[in-house]
Symmetry: C2
Subunit: 388 residues, 2 copies
């Protein structure tokens, strides 16, 4: 059994004011060609198909086109909603489309939906677990004790664990922050604070392969068969040095995994350069790939007039301009922040805590903290249009 | 061949601040039961499935449920986008879902898509023509001369006319304002002004039946086989006296039509009452069906304090309160305005004309008028998220 694992397409993404829809169209053409040539038995898409709950119409149309092409190639598609997707909207027509071998899981359900495909060695079971928001899972299983992502994921997996006891080859699709993951990219919202968003890889023990989405860098989490394919494109400057692509997975008769990353080639790269305006204007500066999406770190004085317009004469798609001397730290930290730095960015609950302390001179009480946490949760659900 | 013709569901409609989603759920349960019992060969939905281009998630979920139930009953569904629907969003998964016998037409195409079903007498061809906005059709056929709805519809129908020349039984789904139609209800946006939105019934000459959507009152337009099924529910007080339901159509071997309206029963009626607060408070006033959605015409003095709150003690779902003595006309005109009255409501272009005249002392020139008309068209397309 051979399948392609991809995730985090974020269709409809706007990056630095720039719609990436044409870039997404471009790279998805290559993706469809890859499917045509490699003829996998299935394509798995592990969530964040869209960048937001109500994506622009052009993003909906693009996904429709790509799906139709994959189904025309007679390749079954199994997909799940990520935290960016609107689960109900995404799963519209779920039952109807499953007849055409497109299997989409929107909201978590008591029993994970399983799609079974066959090769010469027998069946392979694909368990499609969409993004499992703890409040959603708590309400689903009526278990008030569920509060962390670990607990939510564990509850959701119960039906699969039971099913796997009878043997066979099992593959999981999930959208989560799995411990052992190496990064939290700029462009990904933390699911929660204080580590409550982490899920331990040990939950996935009996799966032959776990096709993860959420983190944008391709990497293994915990063991080599638990893997992030990474995103379709670089969606932030922090992702500058990632190699984006998809995973081509081969599952042997015994459920052993052979893998290969196949790189995809974007229309425009996303990268960071450090330069002075004077260098740009006076020296023969390399203008290769000048259409790339750039973060430009200017080493000139901070008193330039409208420097972005002048930089854009050379690099028209400069999305971010940084004046180096206004930075608190050295510029080398800019393009690849470590995790420690990233977690310094205050989360909403932390900002509210700080404000409260400053204003009233004492900390939030436990009930106050919980109440605010709940309001923030409700807001996040509203954003995703989830009704409990 | 027996089929059910319905239209104008307007899922997600908000009426007087009140979401009608539960009312829509209620009446669609009856509809699904009707399909289960009458076992038609097809269900036709003639547009305005949703009330707006980006419907609320609950409306998307409701439509998904209903469709799944119909497909479970093995009844093919043919549907088109109306002027309220976002054509691309609505048609997501079009190709995939057609494999499950749900056939949805979003934007007009050069050739109308045709779904062919069979009975013992041979094939019946269902032509699915979605709402055909003139600017969209003009761009589709690259014919700058297309400006009226009549011209747009005529261009779209060319492929069907050709196809019908070879004989057989043909049924059309369309969403338009067909001349001979009897009304323009309160709740329906005019498609254009000055009659440019009318389509002549003679365009539909060779169809055995034309299943229309757009006008909310069930009625024939031109000849008995060109028919509006009317909307699912009463969506304005002007629709108070409509009998809402669906058409059950039987097509004979020769293409003759027998029809029957089957009424649907809403959770709450929409109606208008004329009463004084004093009568409500002192006399034994009929409170039957007090949950209905009401327009209350108060005959008391206009100087009452917060009368809506007092009226709602009796009729909690009072959506509109009218103080009779503040009305310019007699109250009997209120609930069923004639067409002449309705067209007195100024359209955007007319309001702009009037403003211009008042401000500058002379009328819009022809080029100015056309420019503004074009801007208004563009805005309408944006609202529907159509990109030309």
């Amino acid at each position: 059994m051979r399948f392609i694992h991809t995730a985090d397409w974020h269709l409809g993404r706007v990056f630095g004011g720039q719609s990436l829809i044409q870039d997404q169209e471009f790279v998805l053409r290559e993706f469809v060609e890859l499917v045509r040539e490699s003829k996998p038995d299935a394509v798995l898409i592990s969530g964040d198909i869209y960048d937001r709950a109500v994506p622009p119409a052009a993003a909906v149309e693009l996904y429709d086109q790509v799906l139709s092409q994959l189904i025309d190639l007679r390749v079954p598609v199994v997909a799940i909603a990520g935290n960016h997707d609107g689960p109900q909207r995404l799963a519209f027509g779920r039952q109807l489309m499953s007849q055409a071998d497109y299997h989409i899981a929107g909201l978590p359900q008591e029993e994970i939906s399983v799609v079974t495909l066959h090769d010469q060695h027998g069946p392979v079971h694909f368990h499609a677990l969409p993004y499992a928001e703890p409040v959603v899972v708590r309400s689903l299983f009526k278990q008030p004790s569920i509060s962390t992502h670990q607990e939510a994921m564990s509850a959701c997996l119960a039906s699969s664990v039971k099913r796997m006891a009878t043997g066979g080859r099992h593959v999981l699709l999930a959208h989560a922050f799995v411990q052992g993951g190496s990064e939290t990219p700029d462009s990904e919202r933390p699911l929660s604070v204080g580590g409550a968003d982490r899920v331990n890889a040990s939950l996935f023990e009996n799966f032959a392969y776990v096709a993860l989405g959420h983190l944008h860098q391709p990497h293994a989490a915990g063991r080599p068969q638990i893997r992030y394919s990474g995103s379709l494109l670089k969606y932030s400057f922090a992702e500058e040095h990632h190699v984006k692509g998809v995973e081509l997975i081969e599952l042997t008769a015994t459920g052993a995994v052979q893998r290969e990353q196949i790189a995809l080639h974007p229309r425009r790269d996303v990268r960071s350069i450090r330069v002075s305006l004077e260098e740009l204007e006076t020296q023969p500066y390399s203008l290769a790939n000048r259409e790339d999406y750039l973060q430009v770190i200017l080493t000139d004085s901070a008193n330039l007039m409208a420097p972005i317009n002048r930089v854009r004469e050379f690099f028209p798609n400069t999305l971010e301009l940084v004046i180096e001397e206004r930075l608190p730290n050295s510029p080398s930290n800019l393009s690849a922040p470590s995790f420690a730095e990233k977690s310094d960015i205050p989360q909403p609950i932390q900002m509210i805590e700080a404000f409260f302390e400053q204003r009233f001179g004492n900390s939030l009480t436990q009930p106050q903290y919980q109440k605010i946490q709940q309001i923030l949760n409700d807001l996040r659900l509203q954003e995703q249009e989830i009704m409990l």
